[in-house]
Symmetry: C2
Subunit: 207 residues, 2 copies
């Protein structure tokens, strides 16, 4: 699945070639169909996933597919039509880690403005001890928090979410995090240093 929302060139309703226009009452270019009038909006997509914890360990999947094949990530994927965020996160966890989880609570919500994604990660725990590599994973493994493979994490957003969680565990804080990974348009988009962490709010919860 491609990560970035594609730019439509043809009309999804009638197949005609689109024109880039600013529709009446709007302020930016959209793909507009000259034949049927359909306006094609491009909007960010939602990614949902889980941080699964058990006895000071966290469950990670090693990706079997590009991008970031061979690198580690918590289970996560695109929210589908008709499902809640919590249900989507549990579904992705079953698909990628063959793990049946209970959602504990929302943990971090992060905007990825470069690629038009909104990530919502939940804390979760296993309903059943069985785990295994799904079709998109090479392997699935428990990592003690002090042995997380930081240099082999798949994406900057993964590193950010996991560092926030480790900070909370180290300092015995219960927090919920909202923020934005805004790409600075220099450096590698796979490096955390290429981003400004804007709009970050870490709110402390009553445990």
């Amino acid at each position: 699945m491609r990560l970035i929302v594609p730019i439509p060139e043809y009309c999804i309703a009638c197949g005609s070639a689109l024109q880039q226009q600013i529709p009446e009452g709007e302020d930016r270019l959209r793909g507009v169909c000259p034949d049927c009038g359909e306006i094609h909006y491009r909007n960010p997509k939602v990614v949902v996933g889980t941080l699964i914890e058990s006895e000071d360990q966290v469950l990670l999947c090693r990706r079997a597919i590009e991008p970031a094949e061979g690198l580690w990530t918590p289970p996560a994927g695109f929210l589908e039509m008709g499902e809640s965020m919590a249900a989507g996160a549990a579904r992705e966890t079953m698909e990628e880690a063959c793990a049946d989880v209970e959602i504990v609570r929302p943990f971090a919500r992060i905007d990825l403005t470069r690629i038009g994604q909104v990530h919502q990660m939940f804390l979760a725990r296993l309903n059943d001890p069985g785990i295994g590599a799904g079709t998109e994973s090479l392997e699935v493994k428990w990592f003690p928090w002090d042995q997380v493979p930081w240099s082999e994490l798949a994406f900057p957003v993964v590193e950010w979410v996991m560092r926030l969680r480790m900070e909370d565990l180290d300092t015995d804080q219960h927090r919920i995090h909202h923020g934005c990974l805004h790409w600075l348009e220099v450096g590698s988009p796979m490096s955390l240093e290429s981003y400004d962490l804007s709009d970050l709010q870490s709110l402390s919860l009553i445990p």
Copy 2:
């Protein structure tokens, strides 16, 4: 702007008529292009908005457009590519209520599974006292919380968010809410009673 994510019938990359197929490695039907192979995913869209409070009052807009023309809602709209949720909420507030706001904190995140939307509402306050009706609003008005026009609110999600906020104000609680409005497929989709409020978590914050 239509509320529900449209079903693609033609390929956005080449204009060919799509076929409904289950792509390899997937588990559900997608629109697949028989000519260029493009797979068309339909995913939920993100709506961002603000609850603006000042001296026990909340700012509402009366909608100038369908759906729910003439009814009241906090400023909200679709998140655009390239903007953070907080920036999108502030932009929508400027567009609909001509109001320059500071985002205080995330307040409620609600999935609308019937129409494929994820709503994120923020608490906000004015940077400047000026307000006014934008092109999509008939009027913009401060309502004391005990005079909110409950029977004239635009959407069930608006009623739910505002009732959660009023409950928090009445009981002097600082909370952050996550949940899902799951339509029961009976009754009117404009009535709160037609929904199951699933996955609801109201987490108490340290003020």
